[in-house]
């Protein structure tokens, strides 16, 4: 029995993710504390807002240790979205934030003297052969380039999606990327992602 848990902190856009899950004919539940994650078969960490605020929310909700147990020890399939991807790395330039460090690397800002920041709109992810919706001022620079699942270009070429074992993450908003995004989510739930 599939149990999709979507982490809900007040700044996140968890409701949009739930809508997308429902569109796929599945049900998603909000997770607001560690206990909510216990029976999860899939965990999604959506994100809007800043890396610092997201880390603070996770800490205040007591979610960091339960998430690490579920994802790092029990290998539950996990999908981080937008800031939910960025905080998987060791450090973000945004408010000089120490992040989860599940993946090696850091998060840096686009150069606003060269492009409009935030990046806002549909960008093509070459490896996934489709357009996805991005809203980000910062992007991840993985230390281990093997985890890069897709890249896009905005002034620089950046990691648009990463995967490492059971950990998946997209800088773009899969839940707001039309049919391409819904398909990616469907594949994540069916674990046929590639």
């Amino acid at each position: 029995m599939i149990k999709i848990k979507v982490i809900d902190y007040k700044a996140g856009n968890a409701p949009s993710v739930i809508h997308a899950v429902e569109r796929l004919g599945l049900t998603g539940e909000y997770a607001r504390c560690g206990d909510d994650l216990k029976d999860a078969t899939h965990i999604i960490l959506p994100g809007v807002g800043s890396a610092g605020a997201t880390m603070n929310s996770l800490r205040q909700m007591g979610l960091i240790a339960p998430l690490e147990t579920a994802v790092l020890e029990n290998k539950i399939p996990f999908l981080g979205i937008c800031v939910g991807m960025q905080i998987l790395f060791e450090h973000s330039e945004e408010e000089d934030t120490r992040c989860l460090g599940w993946l090696k690397g850091r998060v840096v800002k686009f150069d606003k003297s060269r492009v409009r920041v935030p990046q806002m709109g549909w960008n093509k992810v070459e490896q996934l052969s489709d357009f996805f919706y991005f809203v980000n001022s910062y992007y991840a620079v993985p230390q281990d380039t093997d985890v890069i699942w897709g890249t896009a270009r905005y002034d620089v070429e950046f990691a648009a999606a990463v995967k490492s074992g059971n950990i998946y993450a997209t800088q773009f908003h899969a839940e707001k990327s039309g049919e391409a995004g819904l398909l990616l989510l469907k594949n994540f739930f069916e674990e046929v992602i590639c």
């Binding site: 007040k10 409009r116 935030p118 709109g121 270009r153 839940e175 995004g181």
Partner: protein, 260 residues
């Protein structure tokens, strides 16, 4: 590469999309969620909804409409009208909106921009502004900001207001030319060029689109990342409407990068 966005803009009264010319004489078009879904299927890049009577009627935005759209549409959408507090913003985001547009309210209380950006991130806060050409020398940019359905002059210089909005944390600007709105004569290119030099956040041009070449002019002559189109798509007042596909094809054939 980031593509140029076509954004359909809906003026909502009682859950239905209406169409006005120069902020007057709204005529009924269709239920909001139906039109939104058909635009989504047609590959529109983004949607904006203005609950245009919320402010006047002193009530918050109609959340039922927001929720009904969010169930059908899996692209970003912005809502505006009647947003006064952080709780109003949160209610709209929770119902499934991606971004909040602030307009008249932000002029009355600029702090709402800062508070919204702090609580939900700059990317959530779209500063929508209605501006009108003026020859009065006190407006250095040549444009003045209007509020309350473009009826009330504020004495604010358009460019100064955009700079202040960016400073306070707005993540995007949607700039509507009152002079061009509903004329179908093209966007105010000069206005968009002023704006792009004033701020570094993304810009949406609004007001005046009537033909595909107006989009081409906007995207080749300015840095605007997005264009509001509404009459062209669905106004029953027009002899001919254009499909999103037609518009994107035209742009693509002229080397404008679009999602196609």
């Amino acid at each position: 590469m980031l593509t140029k966005r076509l954004i359909a803009c809906f003026d909502i009264i009682d859950g239905r999309v209406t169409k006005a010319v120069r902020f007057q004489d709204n005529i009924d078009v269709a239920p909001a969620h139906e039109l939104a879904e058909s635009m989504y299927r047609a590959q529109i890049d983004e949607l904006i909804f203005y609950d245009i009577t919320a402010s006047n009627e002193q009530r918050p935005i109609d959340i039922k409409v927001v929720a009904s759209v969010a169930e059908k549409v899996f692209i970003p959408f912005t809502v505006g009208g009647g947003i006064k507090t952080l709780d109003d913003m949160y209610a709209a985001l929770k119902a499934g909106a991606e971004k909040i547009s602030v307009d008249s309210m932000a002029v009355r209380n600029p702090k709402i921009i800062e508070q919204g950006a702090k609580a939900f991130g700059s990317q959530c806060i779209v500063l929508s502004t209605q501006v009108k050409r003026t020859s009065e020398p006190k407006f250095k940019s040549g444009y003045e900001v209007f509020i309350d359905g473009a009826r009330v002059a504020t004495g604010l210089d358009a460019v100064e207001w955009l700079k202040q909005g960016q400073e306070l944390g707005a993540g995007e600007v949607c700039l509507n030319s009152i002079d061009n709105d509903g004329t179908l004569g093209g966007y105010d290119i000069e206005l968009m060029k002023l704006a792009e030099n004033a701020v570094s956040i993304p810009l949406i041009a609004s007001g005046g689109a009537g033909e595909p070449r107006h989009l081409l002019e906007l995207f080749t002559q300015t840095q605007s990342g997005a264009a509001i189109i509404s009459s062209m798509l669905y106004s029953p007042r027009l002899e001919r409407n254009f499909s999103v596909e037609e518009l994107k094809k035209e742009l693509s054939e002229n080397n404008i990068n679009v999602r196609i």
